[in-house]
């Protein structure tokens, strides 16, 4: 029987030993260890393991960068793991090529189940994280829709809108763009008309959701009614 190769990439000898001891009781796993990115890269190259458990704080690159560098050039499924990670970090790791995320508090049975799941093509991701990811995908779709709407704006109108989103008053915008306050007002009226928005505040929200937030873009239509 071919055993599933796992490389545990973690600076902590305790976590490496914990996984090694746990999986030694299972006949279908073979464990390799790496304490740094260099050792991980060497292990992936030498053993071509099926799975790499990569610590978020792996020296010297960090886990996300390690995943990013290795995921493209190997068939090893990279799983990020850590004490705690923000959803942004986890999403960054998944964008970089990680197949999932596991918390270090995971139970022995949970870890074994997750690793076997990876071999079957499953992504180890908690329910909470799955919800965050779905929201993020919807947010990206929403942002794209909002950006499409912004195509009708002229370059100058977009400049005005950017300053409105920043919270600038008409006088400040006029000074910043070297135009009159009257012209700023006219641009503002055109922006609201073209985007079918009810207020200056809605226009600011529109700009931020379209151009400032890379994830979780807000639904301007919902907010502005």
């Amino acid at each position: 029987m071919r055993r599933t190769g796992i490389v545990v990439a973690d600076a902590s000898p305790i976590f490496r030993a914990g996984v090694r001891h746990l999986l030694a009781r299972e006949s279908d796993f073979e464990v390799f260890e790496a304490a740094s990115y260099a050792e991980l890269a060497a292990a992936v190259s030498a053993h071509e393991p099926d799975i790499a458990l990569v610590d978020l704080e792996l020296p010297t690159t960090g886990g996300v960068a390690a995943v990013s560098r290795l995921a493209r050039h190997s068939t090893t499924s990279m799983i990020l793991w850590s004490f705690e990670a923000t959803t942004d970090t986890i999403l960054a790791a998944i964008t970089a090529g990680a197949k999932g995320y596991l918390p270090k508090e995971i139970s022995p049975s949970g870890l074994i189940r997750s690793l076997r799941g990876v071999i079957r093509g499953e992504a180890p991701i908690s329910r909470e994280l799955a919800t965050v990811m779905v929201d993020a995908v919807h947010g990206l779709e929403e942002r794209d829709r909002v950006r499409e709407r912004a195509v009708v704006l002229s370059a100058r109108e977009r400049e005005v809108l950017a300053l409105v989103a920043r919270g600038d008053r008409n006088r400040q915008i006029a000074q910043a763009l070297s135009i009159s306050e009257f012209t700023v007002k006219r641009h503002m009226q055109n922006i609201l008309h073209k985007l079918n928005l009810p207020s200056r505040r809605a226009a600011g929200l529109f700009y931020r959701s379209a151009f400032e937030s890379e994830q979780g873009a807000v639904s301007v239509m919902e907010r502005t009614g």
């Binding site: 305790i14 914990g18 746990l22």
Partner: protein
């Protein structure tokens, strides 16, 4: 017929089950490891009940909870800080900080074995 030798008991109170796995592996043949989840507020009570020969914890809260038992029974208490790879040991009521990067299964084994030996239990 040879009598079955009883191994010393080491209690691990941890929020990370993999720490228990690592300690179990390190103490194989030396001690019997019993693991309990951290954060339940029962540590002091079950240490009194179990009377282990050494205790391993992974948080300051559990170290605090185990302190009275360790002092009174002169038991080795090992506090593993997993996040910063550090160990501190309490024996005879005094904490001793080990240098950074000392948190390894081997160091835990040495500390626990020394504690058990000093307590007069044959390892």
């Amino acid at each position: 017929m040879a009598s079955e030798q009883t191994l010393p008991i080491v209690v691990v109170v941890s929020g990370f089950p993999l720490l228990s796995e690592a300690v179990e592996g390190a103490l194989e043949g030396i001690a019997e490891v019993r693991s309990f989840p951290a954060g339940r507020g029962e540590t002091a009570d079950f240490l009194q009940l179990l009377q282990p020969d050494a205790v391993v914890v992974d948080s300051a809260e559990e170290a605090e909870a185990a302190t009275d038992f360790a002092r009174e029974s002169r038991t080795m208490l090992v506090h593993v800080s997993l996040r910063d790879h550090r160990l501190r040991l309490m024996h005879n009521g005094r904490w001793q900080e080990l240098p950074d990067g000392s948190a390894s299964p081997e160091r835990i084994r040495s500390a626990v074995a020394a504690g058990i030996y000093l307590r007069g239990v044959r390892v």
